[in-house]
């Protein structure tokens, strides 16, 4: 920015000019809001589709058929459609805010979105319906989308001014995203050729853990390091646990995946222990932030995150039990994935959605009026009461899903799925209100 400061002003330390907006009123920030918005819109639709699919696959979940095509298809609606698309959208905003580096190219970001987002739909439908054509269209689009996104982020990272733990987490996470894609392509090829034969399930386990732990959880840990203190107003907490959590999770998932693929039991055990320790370190870090928060009353977004952390701990315990008891316990394996994915990760992302999306919508909508007159509050853009009901319904849904799978009772499982879907419908109504309604 230009202009001479009043000559009398004085302050200590070097100064630097901030990010300079581009001409024409389209600043990097507003452009990235659009990019984030389209990703968020698509991710919500996939969350709805995935949740509806849960009701459909409830009988298969109840018998522990975690590797069935239907379950695999619906799982991808959550992992790729909801979680990954949300992360892609969030990174468009996070990179400039947290790392001081705007995303390298918003055009590439849009290109990634328009290949990846439809690709997820084709792929999930193809896997669920065992359609060779849809699978290949889907995986082709997904591959292009991921490559574009990874390249875009990788090109942005060197420009980051703050190469801190969040920067490290993003770097590690996108590496694991690429690995997840490779393992996924191998599994897809195996569906038609059977070339990995008996190694299918262990490759599936490796794919799942690299995706959920290496890509998603590492990203969550890194992003939370920035956003939890910001949203909780928790300054002064011991933040060294994030670094430990990242180191443990990254090495753990590497050891686990290597052990699974090479059938090296000690490596699997070592990986599992490291991942559990990493999750424990993350939980301790989150607890440290919550403990030193200035504002004692938690808003609904932070309550979602807190609930998710509890589910994450339960999932870690279930994973350890599965390792001890053996993979033949299919219902336990299904319960482990359900609690970890739906309770631990989906709810966490929903919580951050409640913090990020209304804030972005509010900023975009009222930027011209800020400071010049009354504007509604961010909290007025949605109903906190409905959000609390949603939290209760989704939490109960996950509990019933896990209980139904654990006991093998279809009705309980389906009941849990219906509750989870109901919570998602409430969530969508809230986000629609944020996007299109509210006081103005």
């Amino acid at each position: 920015m230009t202009g001479a400061a009043p000559a009398t002003a004085a302050q200590r330390g070097p100064a630097r000019p901030p990010t300079i907006p581009t001409p024409g009123g389209m600043t990097p920030a507003t452009n990235s809001i659009r990019l984030a918005g389209e990703n968020f819109a698509a991710s919500i639709l996939y969350l709805l589709a995935g949740s509806a699919g849960l009701v459909w696959i409830a009988p298969e979940l109840a018998i522990g058929a975690y590797a069935s095509p239907h379950v695999a298809g619906i799982t991808h609606l959550f992992t790729l459609g909801w979680i990954t698309t949300t992360i892609f959208g969030a990174l468009a905003q996070l990179l400039p805010v947290a790392l001081g580096a705007p995303i390298r190219s918003t055009r590439v970001g849009h290109a990634s979105f328009f290949t990846f987002a439809p690709g997820v739909g084709f792929f999930a439908a193809g896997v669920a319906a065992s359609s060779w054509v849809l699978q290949h269209i889907g995986i082709g689009l997904i591959t292009v989308g991921i490559i574009l996104e990874v390249a875009n982020i990788a090109a942005s990272l060197p420009r980051a001014k703050n190469r801190d733990v969040t920067w490290g987490a993003v770097t590690i996470a996108i590496s694991f995203l690429a690995s997840t894609l490779v393992l996924g392509v191998i599994l897809l090829h195996n569906l038609h050729s059977g070339f990995i034969a008996n190694a299918r399930l262990i490759t599936l386990a490796a794919h799942l853990h690299v995706a959920l732990v290496g890509w998603v959880l590492v990203m969550i840990v890194g992003v939370s390091h920035r956003l939890l203190p910001m949203f909780l107003l928790a300054h002064g907490a011991d933040t060294r646990w994030t670094r430990r959590a990242l180191a443990l999770l990254a090495t753990g998932v590497l050891a686990l995946a290597t052990g699974l693929v090479t059938r090296l039991a000690p490596a699997v055990w070592l990986g599992a222990v490291l991942i559990d320790c990493g999750i424990a370190a993350f939980i301790w870090q989150a607890y440290s932030f919550y403990r030193v928060r200035v504002r004692r009353k938690l808003d609904v977004g932070m309550r979602f995150a807190m609930t998710a952390v509890v589910f994450l701990a339960i999932a870690a315990a279930l994973g350890s039990a599965l390792l001890v008891l053996g993979p033949m316990h299919a219902r336990l394996a299904t319960m482990y994935i359900t609690v970890g994915l739906l309770g631990g990760i989906v709810l966490y992302v929903v919580g951050f959605f409640y913090k990020i999306v209304p804030l972005l919508a509010w900023t975009a909508r009222f930027r011209g009026r800020m400071g010049k007159g009354p504007v509604p509050t961010v909290a007025q853009l949605y109903s906190a009461k409905v959000a609390y009901v949603q939290l209760g319904v989704m939490t109960l849904g996950v509990v019933l899903l896990a209980g139904g799978i654990g006991t093998g009772i279809v009705h309980v499982t389906r009941c849990g799925a219906v509750l989870f879907l109901a919570g998602v419908v409430l969530f969508i109504s809230q986000i629609a209100r944020v996007a299109f309604g509210g006081r103005s």
Binding site: A5, P6, A10, Q11, P17, T19, H235, T363, P374, V375
Partner: protein, 345 residues
């Protein structure tokens, strides 16, 4: 009455709403302390007023010692106070403790809520010849609607030669802090039960003095150019993210307590008399953004705003450019970021 000795004691800077949220029975303690608090039994009134005022400010409006009220509240909660916890900033108490009442009994308010021109009775302290704009928020207060946004909009719309006459049901002590930091002086007058007039105006030759109390945010005429570091400082310690439109640093007697040069020196910042310091480190997004833009709307000519933040405010920069402000950023310390904002010549 619940509460245990292990509970955090009530502090003078706690908002009344937060205190009552701990135990609704504490309303009785307020009422016992002063009859003026009777209206706290009214939920609508409580919803509006209790979150705008701290215990210390409430005590001041009721004309009772804040220490005693805090002590009574803690006793009711079963908390044995430590001496340090009960310390109350006494700055500015005497000048404002003139019988104001948190919701007190009174007659009906006139239909209002909109700013209009008003004839005014002359006062020896208020400047003559200023156009008076009147805003009556009594009905809003009685019906449970928070009038803060209306007030701030009315203040923002004031011209240089205009003053605001605010009609309220009580003496709005927290508002004095907020507007004092924007260079407004005030005068209040109680006409009867639940009927107050408060005038806000900018002094003709403002020299915004940093004062130990925001409530005493009276703008004093400079008694010698450059004789002291005169800086208006806002330390926004309110942490609510749910009330962005109520961008006032409400409830924070502490707000004002850091406006002196000693606090600034501790933070390693040197400022002069044309710098307004806005500390937003204790605020949830997007309040730092809101307060900064609001402060810039009334930034006097030739002044600059120094925002103290916990992080680089990336969303702020494009908005500054849109509004014709320039800025630079100092990230030389890990624990805070300084953003200096000014209007280019």
């Amino acid at each position: 009455m619940t509460g245990s000795p292990g509970t955090t004691p009530v502090a003078p800077t706690d908002r009344v709403s937060d205190v009552i949220a701990r135990d609704e029975a504490l309303v009785d303690v307020f009422v016992r302390a002063a009859p003026h608090f009777t209206k706290l039994r009214n939920r609508a009134m409580r919803r509006v007023m209790a979150r705008l005022i701290t215990v210390e400010q409430a005590a001041r409006t009721a004309g009772i010692p804040a220490e005693k009220l805090v002590s009574d509240l803690n006793s009711a909660l079963g908390i044995v106070e430590r001496a340090a916890d009960a310390t109350v900033s006494g700055a500015g108490q005497s000048e404002m403790a003139k019988g104001g009442a948190l919701p007190g009994p009174g007659g009906p308010g006139q239909p209002g809520g909109e700013v209009r021109d008003a004839a005014d009775v002359a006062s020896p302290t208020r400047p003559a010849g200023m156009r008076v704009r009147e805003l009556d928020v009594r009905e809003d207060l009685r019906t449970g609607n928070e009038p803060f946004s209306k007030i701030m909009a009315a203040v923002a719309a004031l011209g240089e030669d205009e003053m605001l006459r605010l009609r309220t049901t009580f003496e709005p002590v927290p508002l004095f802090t907020v507007l004092g930091k924007r260079g407004f002086v005030h005068e209040s007058e109680e006409h009867g039960a639940e009927d107050w007039s408060v005038w806000f105006w900018r002094p003709v030759a403002p020299a915004i003095e940093g004062s130990a109390s925001g409530d005493a945010a009276a703008v004093r005429s400079s008694d010698g150019a450059g004789s002291s570091a005169s800086t208006a400082t806002t330390r926004a310690t309110d942490t609510s993210s749910a009330d962005v439109s109520s961008a006032a640093p409400r409830g924070d007697a502490s707000t004002a307590d850091v406006s002196d040069s000693r606090a600034l020196a501790v933070d390693g910042i040197t400022v002069d008399d044309r710098t307004i310091v806005l500390d937003v480190r204790g605020l949830n997004p997007p309040e730092p953004l809101m307060r900064t833009l609001t402060a810039l709307e009334t930034l006097p000519e030739g002044h600059q705003l120094l925002q103290i933040n916990a992080r680089v405010p990336q969303f702020l920069f494009p908005m500054l450019a849109e509004r014709g402000f320039a800025c630079d950023v100092d990230e030389s310390r890990a624990d805070r970021v300084l953003v200096r904002i000014w209007r280019p010549a």
